[in-house]
Each structure stands twice: as C-alpha cells, then as structure tokens.
C-alpha cells in the first residue's frame, strides 16, 4: 500500500479546511513528527528482534497467523504482528514477558501431548494448530469484554497473545509500534489509510438531500 496515502499524505496534499495560520504555526512540528514516523516504519522492516529469540519468534508468528489467518486477504503474518509483539515486550507490555516466557513451553508441552512426536507448534498443520489453540481458549476466561479495562498481566498466555495479535494487526501504522505493516490490517477491515476525509462518508449519506426542518406544527408533547 502506498504510504503516501496516510497521514503524511494528508499533511502534504489535502490541506482543504486547515487554516493557513494553523499550518504555518505548526508545520515544522508536523514535518518532524511525520519524518520520525516514517523512519520508525522503515525500521520495522528488517527482521531483527529486540526481545524474542528466533525460535520464540517463529512460534509466536505461527500463533498470530492462526488468530488472524492469511486468507484471500493478508493476515497477522503479513502485518508483521510478531515484530509488534517483540517490541511490545520491551516497551508497553514488559510485564507480559513472563507470560510469554512461561506460555511458550506450555504450548510446546501441549503440542507433545496432543500430537506425540511433533516438536513445535509451528511444525503443525493449520488444522492441528487450531485444535491446539482451541484447547487453550477453552481454558481462558472467555468473555471478550470492552477493551482496555483489564490488566494484560492477569490474562492467560492465549488471551494475551490474542489481544496482542489484534493490537498488532490494527494499530495506527504510523506509530512506533512496528505493527500493521503497510497498513494491511486497516485495509482488511475496510478502513481507508488517510487521516483526513470529506463527506459523503458512506452509503447512507451519499444521497442525503440536505437538512429539512421538522414539521413546524409539531406540539411539544410529553411521552
């Protein structure tokens, strides 16, 4: 996806509606923020991990790829979710290092248990992988709930990986979190990459004829 369509595109191209005074007052800061974001996005590309070992990364990539699989559209693997999780574990989700460190051996044990002779989760077929994850999901607390209300550290390994995968798939690609590479996650859910839009926005407002007043003879009535 063309990165120029994102916020930086809006800054440099579509200035309709932004006052000239505001732009001149904030332009240097905006440019600096944009260039920082671009560098952060570039830095996301090389396969270098800050926390995970290559073996751990392979397993986490495989888990993420079942949580949001690659279908006719990109999934967690293409969005670089494993890089997001790697950075998360040295930044905002440091307290989850233990969850992963203990969860991955637990996963491996479950692989051995369910499929004797198989070494790694990543070596299983997608169908087998789904069965293995299902066995963890049944043990997890369940309810999806509203976001951001619970502490990650209190969640099971599977629930933590699930939430992190969704976050890494859908985070603003301009952030420094290394997730949603090339904005593929937003593309999958139908969110256009820009940060500036003009009406009409959707199907139901495109033929809106304009505001028509409520009937004037309306009486204020109590329900």
């Amino acid at each position: 996806m063309n990165k120029d369509l994102s916020r930086r595109g809006f800054l440099s191209q579509g200035l309709t509606g932004i006052s000239a005074a505001w732009i001149s007052a904030h332009w240097p800061a905006m440019l600096s923020a944009a260039s920082h974001a671009r560098q952060a996005a570039k830095a996301a590309s090389p396969a270098k991990f800050e926390f995970l070992s290559p073996e751990q990364a392979r397993e986490i990539d495989a888990i993420a790829a079942r949580i949001i699989p690659t279908t006719d559209t990109p999934g967690a693997h293409e969005a670089g979710v494993v890089f997001f999780i790697d950075r998360a574990l040295v930044t905002f989700a440091k307290e989850d290092q233990k969850t992963y460190a203990q969860g991955l051996p637990g996963l491996e044990a479950r692989v051995h248990e369910m499929f004797p002779g198989m070494e790694k989760f990543s070596a299983a077929t997608p169908e087998q992988q789904d069965q293995i994850l299902q066995s963890f999901d049944e043990q997890s607390s369940g309810a999806a709930g509203r976001p951001f209300r619970r502490r990650m550290a209190t969640q099971s390994f599977f629930e933590t990986a699930r939430v992190h995968t969704i976050m890494g798939f859908l985070i603003d690609p301009d952030s420094d979190k290394r997730g949603n590479r090339d904005g593929v996650g937003w593309k999958v859910i139908g969110r256009e990459p820009e940060h500036m839009f003009q009406p009409p926005f959707g199907y139901y407002d495109k033929d809106y004829p304009g505001w028509q007043p409520n009937p004037p003879d309306v009486e204020k009535t109590k329900s």
Binding site: R146, M167, K177, H195, P199, Y204, D205, W211, S223
Partner: protein
C-alpha cells in the same frame, strides 16, 4: 508556554490560583486574567500540544497518555458505605492542560429549563436529594451563548422543537451528516420523533489558529491534532496566556489548601514535577479540579477548623454524585456506513427530555444520539456482536464485514442525586505520592436503571424502523465506572444542604471558590460540559464583581 506568559514566584501573592485547567479552569483563567487579575493555573498533568496528539490507540488509551494514570493513581469501588471498597479502576478524566475537554466526544447540549427546577416541578423523589438550583436557565442563557461564540460550537438553532429559548443562533453551521446520522434521522421521523443536527464543540469552519474538523476519525479519547475540537487547550488556555497575566503551570499536583488564623485560604500546596512540595500564595483560590478531584482536595485539606474536610460544614463534600444514566445499542447495517470517518455524533433527538413519571413509572428523561466512537483496536476487541468468534478465519470475516457497517445509538439520561453516592478518601490505599486514593461509592437510584432500560427500548425501536440487520445491547446494570463527575460540591442557598452559593463561593471559606462538574445540582440529560463551561463564564463574572467591590479579602 507562550512567549508573553508571565512566570510568577510561589512567594508572589497572585490574585487567583486556579486548580485545574479543564473545561471550567480554562475559562476562569481566561476571564479572570482578561479582567486584569494575576492568575496562576496549577495543572496536575503535562502540557501537551497538537504535535503530541497521535492516533496510537495503545499509547493514548491503554497507557493513559491523556488521562488519570491507572497505576500512579489507583482507585477503589464499593456499592454502599457498608461495603468494603475493592481496588478497581473507577473513573477516567483528562489529566493534562485542557483537562477532559481535550479528549471528550464534544456533545454540547444546553440544559433545559426543567433541569434547574425539576424538584419543584415533580415534587420530592423517594431516595433522592433532588433539589432546585439557586439559578435558572434564564440566568445561564447569556453564558451558554458566550460558550458557543467564544469557544466555538457548531449547530443549528431552532432545529429541535424541544430546545430552550436562545438569544443568538450558533456561530457556525452543524458538522456534515454521517451515515449513522442519516439512518437515525429517517427512522426517527418514521416514528414521529424530531431528530436534529447535533450541537458539537467541534469547528465546522476554521477560526484563527484552528482548523475546521478534518474528519480524521480519532476523536473520542484522543486529542485533536488540528485544533478543531474546542477544548480548553485549543481555546481558553491560549486566550488566557495572551493576556500576559496568566501562568499555566503544568505537572503541579495540588494536594492541600491552607487557611490562615482568620479562616481565609492563603494559596495552594502542590507537588512539582520532581515531587518537591511548593506553596503558591494567592489572595483567593478557585478549584476546578473536576467532580472527583475537587471534593478529594477539600477532604485532603481537613484541618482543626474543618475536621471533616475544608468547606464541609454541610457534610455534602463528595456526596450526591451523579454519573448520568443511559445505555448503548449497537447495530449492523447492510451497506457500509464508514462511520469511522469523522467526529462521533451528527444527529440527536430530545423527544424524551421530559418524561411524565405518571405515564412511564419513573422519574427522569433523556436524549438519543447516533454515533460511532470506536477506533480499530477497540472495535475489534469490544464491538462485535455477542457470541462472535474471537479469533481465526470466522473472526476475521465478521471483523472485516462489520467495521464499516456498524453504528451505535446512545441513550443519555438523568441520574438522581443520592446522598450515599460519592467520592471520598480511601484510608487503605495510597497513590504514588503517598496520598489517600479516590474511593467511588455508587448505587444507581432505581429510577435511573428504569430510565436506562426505557431509553434502550427506544433505541431498539429506532433501529428496527431503520432496518438494522442486527442489533444488541448489554443488559442494564448498576454502574461501577465514572466518566461524568457531577454534583459532589453542589450549589445552593442553604449552607446545610450545599457547599457553594450561587456565586460559586464556598459557604464556609469566603475566598475559596469551586467551579466544575461538582457544582451541578442536577445531572442534566447526559451532556454536562456545556453547562460546566457556561457556569465558569458566569462564575468569572460573579467573582470579578466580588473582587472589584472589595468583598474578597486581600
């Protein structure tokens, strides 16, 4: 900090120290400094600006970039005073220069006449301390108009037959309609209701130094990167700084107001960014710290003269908390709405503002709005229909299909004031500065729960008429989380049943003023900020008159 902003010494006795820089504090800073007074604003949070307002959901929402911090400022909750409170995230508010107005939805409904006179109109309500305001809608009307014009509110005057009278139209047209708004408008009219363009504190036209809304889609919970959201940060704070008499001092956590031997406030004691204790001297103190932190500060300031909390001879400091009732009904439609584009709300209705208790069987009223206020991660984790798959191919399918096709109908309603509902100090839990944590005690009045269910039923009726493919609403439950923080230092003429008089002066300490959500006597119908700001403009006039008359101690 602006170049012409003064830097006062803590030993300089300024005219006013204002605690908090949000919806009310920003306006009081602008007005009082504009009237010639020397003002220091102490804000506990940082001074962020547009360049800091990123769209990173984790940084902003999960890591509390703009809000009270869940680890540094832990809180507890209990339902009744008989219960032992448990550690639990109990509230959210903006903790930065500009306060909650920086990240709010920006629904800007005026209160109606009924909100000020409900007690005398409907009589006493069992289990509630419902009271009339000492001021009326007519007293506040000029100040509502002032908010609309000076701060910047978009909307369409006279579009709702239920609107209270107004002296001037809005200064700018409503924001564009969203697909959720069109769906709402058509369905409501089918039902004989009266939808109208939502009044929003978001610019539809540019103003000097501020852009019109660019519809970025990261609105509720986020700061506005183009200055279109009419926060105190984007408006009043900058106007205050331009007077050359107002210093905004961020990272200043006020935890005590001290009195002299004559019982007059002498200034505010605060932790600076390095957690050193500082004392800012002032002739008068104005607390605008919000409906949770304002009563907490008074309770923390207990002394020999006021053992139960400063200015708390009534015992009402922290009590009569109202959170507003209501509910959310989510719906999925056939075609893409793309409601992720833009601000949250474009159409509302007020047909149910005043319900007849004899007909509906409970007291209160409310309004409905059509909105989409979810950002991508939040949506994926919390806005799919109940029972949806949580991972895998079918999860991806539902997520991909629904994101552009979902909208919500919000019901917003009254909360009746109940004396036990409160913010108080938790004796067993401390914040990162070693001060007693906030404790929320709350159990909705039964009528509030009935109203919430009634409003949900209207939302369902509307979505049915709109042809929604699917809709769902969580069951109505007693609230355990506070966003609107109202009524905890209420205004009134009787010092026995109120904390401040109609000049926002505490009954007990003559040079101590309170103005924010805590001042409200009733809850309105779920959109309090417009009224908080109108009160702040009025309070500034009243305080200025008192000071100029020499009625403030010097």
């Amino acid at each position: 900090m602006m170049p012409d902003e003064p830097k006062y010494k803590t030993t300089d006795e300024v005219d006013f120290v204002i605690v908090g820089s949000g919806a009310a504090g920003g306006i009081l800073a602008k007005e009082l400094s504009g009237n010639g007074f020397r003002v220091v604003v102490l804000e506990q949070g940082p001074y962020l600006t547009e360049k800091d307002f990123v769209h990173d959901e984790i940084k902003v929402l999960n890591q509390d970039l703009l809000t009270n911090h869940r680890e540094l400022q832990p809180t507890t909750f209990r339902k009744t005073p008989q219960d032992k409170a448990k550690p639990q995230r109990a509230l959210v508010y903006g903790r930065l220069v500009g306060g909650t107005s920086t990240h709010f939805t920006a629904n800007f409904w005026r209160f109606h006449e009924i909100d000020f006179t409900e007690r005398s109109k409907v009589g006493p309500v069992a289990g509630s301390t419902l009271a009339d305001w000492p001021i009326t809608y007519a007293d506040l009307e000029p100040y509502y108009t002032k908010v609309e014009w000076e701060i910047g509110v978009s909307g369409l005057a006279y579009a709702s037959p239920f609107d209270p009278p107004r002296s001037k139209p809005y200064p700018m047209p409503p924001l564009p309609v969203k697909s959720s708004g069109v769906i709402f408008e058509r369905a409501a009219r089918k039902l004989g209701w009266h939808p109208f363009p939502a009044p929003m504190a978001i610019l539809s036209e540019p103003r000097p130094g501020r852009s019109a809304c660019v519809n970025c889609g990261f609105c509720l919970g986020f700061g506005c990167e183009v200055g279109a959201k009419s926060s105190s940060l984007a408006t009043a704070i900058r106007m205050a700084e331009k007077t050359g008499r107002c210093e905004i001092r961020p990272n200043s956590y006020v935890h005590r107001i001290e009195l002299d031997a004559a019982g007059r406030a002498t200034g505010a004691v605060y932790f600076d960014a390095r957690r050193n204790v500082q004392r800012q001297k002032a002739k008068a103190v104005v607390v605008c710290a919000n409906g949770a932190e304002t009563p907490r500060l008074l309770l923390l300031s207990a002394n020999k003269q006021f053992p139960n909390g400063l200015a708390n001879s009534s015992g009402y400091v922290g009590k009569n908390l109202m959170l507003n009732s209501g509910g959310v009904t989510t719906a999925v439609f056939e075609e893409p709405l793309n409601d992720y584009k833009g601000f949250a709300v474009s159409r509302i209705l007020h047909d149910f503002y005043e319900l007849d208790p004899d007909k509906v069987g409970f007291h209160g009223g409310g309004g409905l709005d059509a909105r989409f206020d979810m950002t991508p991660i939040g949506f994926a984790l919390g806005s799919l229909p109940p029972g949806s798959p949580r991972w895998g191919k079918s999860f991806k399918e539902v997520l991909s299909h629904n994101f552009t096709r979902t909208c919500e109908i919000y019901g917003h309603g009254t909360s009746l004031p109940v004396e036990n509902n409160s913010f108080s100090l938790d004796a067993d839990l401390k914040d990162a500065w070693g001060l007693p944590a906030l404790r929320l005690t709350y159990k909705d009045h039964p009528d509030d729960l009935k109203l919430s269910a009634w409003l949900n039923a209207r939302s369902a009726e509307l979505l049915e008429a709109a042809g929604a493919k699917k809709m769902w609403a969580p069951p109505v439950q007693e609230q355990q989380f506070a966003v609107h923080l109202l009524g905890t230092c209420r205004m009134g003429n009787d010092p026995k049943t109120s904390v401040i008089n109609s000049d926002h002066q505490t009954h007990d300490v003559k040079n101590l003023f309170l103005c924010d959500g805590s001042s409200l006597v009733t809850s309105g119908r779920g959109q309090p900020t417009m009224t908080i700001e109108a009160l702040a403009f009025r309070a500034a006039d009243r305080i200025t008159a008192l000071a100029k008359r020499g009625d403030l101690p010097t």
